[in-house]
Each structure stands twice: as C-alpha cells, then as structure tokens.
Symmetry: C2
Subunit: 336 residues, 2 copies
C-alpha cells in the first residue's frame, strides 16, 4: 500500500511513467508546469526513487566501496571522514569493508566487488598483502580503484599518500639533530609501501650523516601489541641500547612509551622518540610525542575526489601518484 513509485505518481497525475521520470530528472524536454506538478506531488507523497531499479537500469550504483584494514584507528577514521564528506556532497553512498589486516578477507571482499555493486573502490592494503593478482583482476574488470596511504605500486591507477620518503628522512634527521647516533626503526610489515618508503628515508638520512646502519636496530613488529611490547623491550634492554627511536606507525610508538615507562627510561632523556601519529593521541602522551602528522582527512578527501573525477568523466583513473605533505611537529601542544 505504501510504496510510492513512478507508476503511482503517473496514475495520480494522469501522465505516463516516462514523463514523470523525466520531470523528476529535470529533463529539458518537459514543460515547466508539468515539472512543477510532478515535483509537487512527489514532495507531498515523499517519493523516494528505488535505488536498485535505477542502478540495474543504468548500470551504475552511485555507491563506492572503502576497503581498509581496520577502523578503530585514528588515521583510517579520519580518512573515512574525508571520503564521506566528498561522497555526501556528490550524492554517493559509502560501503565499508574491513580486512582486519588479513589477505584472505581482502581477497574475498575484492571478489564481491567484481559484481558491479560499486562504481569505484578506495582502498588501503592489508599488511599481509604481498601478491596483488586479486587487485589486478579488479582493475582488469574495469572497476576504478584509487589507493590511499598503503598503496599498490604495481597496478596502474591513482595513489594518494603522504611524502613517506621525505618525512622518513626528516624524522631521522630530526633525531640526528637532537644528538642521536644509534637510531632504531620500527615497522609493522615489510609488505607495506609506507613502512618501506619511510625506511628508505631513514636509511638515506643515516647515510647522509655518515652513521652506519645497524641491522639490529631495525625491528619488525606485527599486529600483536604484546609481541611488539616484548620486541621493543628487548631492543631497549640490549647493551648498546638505541638513543633514538623512529616508529613508522603510532601503535609502535605507544608500545615504546609503555616499555620506557615500565623500564624507568626517561623520554627524551634516555631515549628520544619520533613517530607517525595523529596529534590528538600524541598530545595525551606525557612527555608529549614528537610526531610526523599525516593529513588523514585530506588524504581521504583527495582520494575520493580523484575517484569521482574519473567516474564523472567515465574515463580510466590516471596512473598518477599524489603526494600530500605531512608535518613534523616537535612537541604536540597540550590543551588550549
């Protein structure tokens, strides 16, 4: 009984379904009065077009998928905010898929996306993802993809990241400038573009300062916080303990704080720490963390804009790499 559809509007207005449809889409080949009548009744009955009928017919859904490893993570939350802001403005709907840092889940999700459910995909890779044939397949099937943050360089499409190499370099240089000579680098996965590029910056900064690389100081953690805690603890208990630590992700910096706390190490007296982190979290830490802060919201927003530009023009997404600058912030200010 409820179901307000075109047929009902047409019957009530004594018009054909197609005329009503055109009037609602503001077609130029409909008279002004007819349009007004149609719009008026549509508003009165609160007509909502059936999105699935429309999607089926037009072969586009005005829906995009956002595929991220996790959501309880300030970076991804902010990025999703950015994506949402432009999606909403463009009248697109956003489906969220979480891989939980898990390739098999990622593959299964990407498989679903072959169905035409979405017009495009925004994606940040899981830390387990090494092989990328599932992504190549998605691309091959013509689904527009834009990668953000954790990108895939082997697929010809747009990537949006921060200046990972430069900020890795600068972060390391910052520690050197503070007098550090034994600088550790913490990462969570060798698969991830971000960890690798930031590390390249780290290595080059060391070289430029004529500091020998000590493999022992490069620590690869994982997804398990307890394990990371243990790894970092043993790093800080070794003789020849590092005097500086560069954490390539926030979570590792937090574990480092906990370790220092428990070992009674003074920050920054005994060990200086710099990390990729968002400011809010950093400002909670005492003494506050020196951070490299990514413009997470803007990364999401930019990635979405690039995708929509492609969708609007119905052209393939350009194979470009957009790099947004992150900021090195020596000390997060506390309150205001």
């Amino acid at each position: 009984m409820d179901a307000v559809n075109l047929k009902k509007l047409a019957r009530q207005l004594k018009l054909s379904v197609s005329t009503v449809s055109r009037a609602l889409r503001d077609s130029h080949e409909i008279s002004r009065e007819t349009k007004e009548k149609v719009l008026a009744l549509a508003a009165e009955l609160n007509y909502q077009p059936n999105p699935y009928a429309s999607s089926l017919r037009r072969q586009k859904s005005r829906t995009i998928a956002v595929v991220v490893p996790e959501i309880a993570n300030n970076f991804f939350s902010l990025a999703i905010n950015g994506i949402g802001s432009v999606a909403q403005e463009k009248g697109y709907h956003v489906l969220i898929y979480l891989t939980h840092e898990n390739v098999s889940e990622e593959i299964s999700i990407v498989g679903h996306l072959l169905s035409g459910r979405v017009d495009g995909v925004l994606m940040s890779l899981s830390s387990e993802t090494g092989d990328t044939t599932h992504l190549a397949e998605l691309k091959r099937k013509g689904v527009p993809i834009v990668f953000f943050d954790r990108v895939c360089d082997t697929i010809e499409t747009a990537r949006v990241t921060t200046d990972d190499y430069e900020s890795g370099f600068n972060a390391t240089q910052h520690l050197v400038d503070q007098g550090c000579r034994r600088i550790a680098y913490l990462l969570i996965s060798p698969n991830l573009s971000i960890g690798v590029k930031r590390m390249q910056g780290y290595l080059d900064a060391l070289k430029q300062n004529s500091i020998a690389v000590d493999e022992q100081l490069i620590v690869q953690g994982g997804l398990d916080n307890d394990q990371n805690y243990a790894l970092i603890k043993s790093l800080l208990q070794r003789d020849g303990r590092p005097d500086g630590i560069f954490a390539s992700v926030e979570r590792l910096a937090i574990s480092t704080y906990h370790v220092c706390n428990d070992l009674g190490l003074d920050i920054p007296g005994d060990v200086k720490i710099i990390s990729f982190s968002n400011l809010e979290t950093a400002s909670l830490l005492q003494p506050s963390l020196t951070t490299v802060t990514q413009p997470a919201f803007d990364i999401g927003k930019t990635a979405a804009m690039v995708l929509f530009k492609g969708l609007d023009k119905k052209s393939a997404i350009a194979d470009e790499h957009i790099i947004l600058k992150s900021a090195l912030i020596p000390r997060a200010s506390t309150g205001q």
Copy 2:
C-alpha cells in the same frame, strides 16, 4: 563482452536461465549433476550475481545502514567493528552514514533510507536530536531500526546500551569513596539519553550519600573542544573548586586533563577524575584515568544481532532494552 550473467551461463550450458539460477541457489529441485555443472562453469567464469537485479526482484538488499554521529571516535569505531563482524558473517553489506552530530544531516540521511536501499538501520542519535518525528516516520514505513548507545526511547523498537544509570551511580560513589564531596558532572548534550541517565545515577548517588546537589557543578559542554576547555577551566578556577569530576564522555575528561595540566592541578591529589572512556586512550594519560569502560564492540555486535534476528524472522523488532554492563576500572594498567 565481459558481463557474466545468468543468460550467458544458461546459453553455454544449454539450460534455461531459471534452472541455472536455482542451481546456484542450491535449490533442492535440481539434480546433483546439473548443479555441479553449473557451479563448475560459474566458478570458471567467476560469475558474480548482479546484486541490484536481485535486490530489485526480492525487495531486499542484504544491506544495512549504520548511522552514527562521527567515526573518529573510539566508541563508534569499535561498535562498527562489532557490527561489521556479524554483518560479514551474515553476508550483509554495511553502508555508513555520518551525521556529524547534526540533526539536519540526520534527517536528510533518514529520508534517503526510506527508499528501500537498506533492509534495516542501526543508529546512534546525534547530540542535537530532540524531535524524533523523522525516526518515527522511518519506523512507520516499516524499516527495522535498532538504536545503540544514544537511543531514542519514544520509538517502539530495540535499544542496546550500557547500564548508564548504574554506572553513573557507581562512578559517583567511587569518587565519594575516595573522599570527594564536591563532585562535578560534565555532559555534552541534554538531548542525549546517555548524558541524562548517567546524570540521574550521579544525582541519586549524591542523595544517598547526603551530599547536596550544587547546580553550579553540573556543566554542560558542547561539540567545541575550545569552549569545553574554557568551561572546565572556569569550573576549576571558581572558589569552592570541585574535588572530584565525573565526565560522562571521554572527550570532556581529556579537556579536563589539559586544564589541570595548564593550571598545575595535581591529579588525583587536587582533583579526582573518573570518566566514561576506552581503556587504550585512558592508558595514555598520566596519571592514568579511572574509567567506566563500555563494551563498545559488543554493543555494536549485539545491536546487529538483534537487527538480523528481526530480519531473519521477518518480524518486527521487539520493543526491548538490552543493557550490557560497563566496567569501572580504577586505574588503566600501562604496558603490555
């Protein structure tokens, strides 16, 4: 050329479209060999059913909407995780909508949801939401809704929250037990069920301890952190400064920390603080925050389960209030 659909499979197998359809849905009225042949070809061609055709025909989309005020907020992120875990298991897709704590956005989103795009809605109200006719309308149109955390008591449907009243009471009692007598209560909106119920617990706890309520100690902040900072600062600079503060949301506790820091007030020496907060954030604060921790993941999971139960049975969602216990944790442990 690509488009693998039922017609193509049928042609290639010399079967009718309906037989193929039934075989894929594992109907019991199809022979085993036919099924196997169909499944084999479907797998080979990597057939993905068109979700929109199916949704249109069946009038259900296997999609739910999650409407939340924001996403860069640990509680909602975790709740969405919980929702996602059960949605994925049930084969449902999750559309995310953000209201940004804004009624007008909420109304517009709810309006979209009248279209039949989703089979059900999981929702946490914006802090501005006073009038709820848009929600009543959604309910009236037959869209199943489950509220979680920030619920709407005037709509007959399921609500999932923590024990807001009890934990408000216990939090206040905890401060009294610590020797506090001038206990302030911080909230962000008088519209929100959570703020009100927690406050009722606060008031009753004071009464039970024969402590007079001082209206001056009930501070209503808002969405702007700077303003909250200022309000809390003036609260702590008054003569007759509170000796205990109960923040009904994490964000207000963090502002309180910043104020105390800047005013040189010792926590918990000068003022004791307890707040609804997640443990991870609390453990970053020094000295660590005494918290009331909500089972955010489980709240999301439970809300989703209640919704899916209704969808499975095609019955209306029961008008029930499910209450999950939150935990009062005197001190977040640091490391590990």
